[in-house]
Symmetry: C2
Subunit: 192 residues, 2 copies
């Protein structure tokens, strides 16, 4: 059975859980507390040398790290990944956007953020990423082909809790509409 | 004909050029100077709302941003992307690692970096990413399936010039051997 090493309150781990629930695939969830160093043990580093959750165990000895690579793997030949090759690349385009231009800024916790001095700059980049999404979602229901896909799952994970990071979604009606559409998907579960 | 909007001295743009050269696919290169705001014009933002290079034009009106999504698109059904589904996901695993844990730290320019106050922390994360690569390449010739793929191209772009960012590759013999193996690939071209 698939086993997910993850932390329930991590958006990156939630992505994997959400897709597995949509797919109704059986899986085991192994809670890993990154705060107590559980991702830095030699056992964990054998599974993922980068010491991060989520990490998917396909079978003992066969592991896949990186939330968006896991989404890609699990979504193959399901309705959550398109069949057209340009659309497939476009899904990945939004997923790379998420990891490079979105998550590092949106996933902040302002209160105890180690980069206090930089906070205004980080906040500005976060709003820039939200603006890119807002513009796209103003005339598309979903990221790619107007169909819900793993691109939406990847971006939903941190966007829907952006307020926790101090972002005001009041000025982003298209994003708020999309958040509601994601919540309406069959098998949807909340984070946590 | 394919058209790449890129900047010659950007590692992310070089990835696309390197793959196109390996594939011997004809393409047009449109140099874009990000320093003069050329990626913030309304024309450019129509192609890529995130305002970044590289952006691939497949045909007028059809664009694909994000270097690693472009690699994925171009590598389909070529020897640079594996056929096994787990290996495909593993390629993407290294490409997401590159954009999240590697490039943001390795691609620094220490001299004029806006985050001077954070430099030691950024440097530490960069060396952490190199250590992950070193460990893997100590017993693998390439990232995935011991075959050269777009995962290697993605990681090569900034790793091979890590010294420019102040990283000493002296302690990373496996990475240096891999850099040489990449340079030996048919159709290889240097950055710039």
């Amino acid at each position: 059975m698939l086993k997910v090493y993850g932390m329930s309150f991590s958006g990156n781990c939630y992505k994997v859980k959400l897709l597995l629930e949509h797919l109704q695939r059986p899986y085991q969830w192994q809670e890993v507390d990154i705060m107590t160093g559980a991702t830095r043990t030699s056992d964990f580093l054998t599974m993922n040398p980068n010491g991060k959750v989520p990490t998917l165990e396909l079978e003992p000895g066969k592991y896949l790290p990186e939330s968006n690579a896991i989404l890609y793997y699990l979504a193959q030949e399901t309705p959550y990944f398109p069949t057209d090759s340009f659309a497939q690349a476009d899904v990945l385009r939004w997923m790379f956007f998420e990891q490079y231009s979105h998550e590092p800024y949106i996933a902040m916790l302002p209160g105890n953020h180690p980069r206090q001095v930089e906070l205004p700059k980080l906040r500005e980049k976060g709003y820039g990423a939200l603006q890119v999404m807002e513009q796209h979602l103003s005339n598309h229901d979903y990221c790619v082909e107007n169909r819900y896909s793993i691109a939406d799952i990847a971006l939903f994970a941190y966007t829907h809790v952006a307020a926790d990071g101090g972002f005001d979604l009041g000025e982003f009606p298209a994003i708020r509409g999309w958040v509601d559409r994601v919540r309406g998907q069959e098998g949807f579960v909340e984070m946590g």
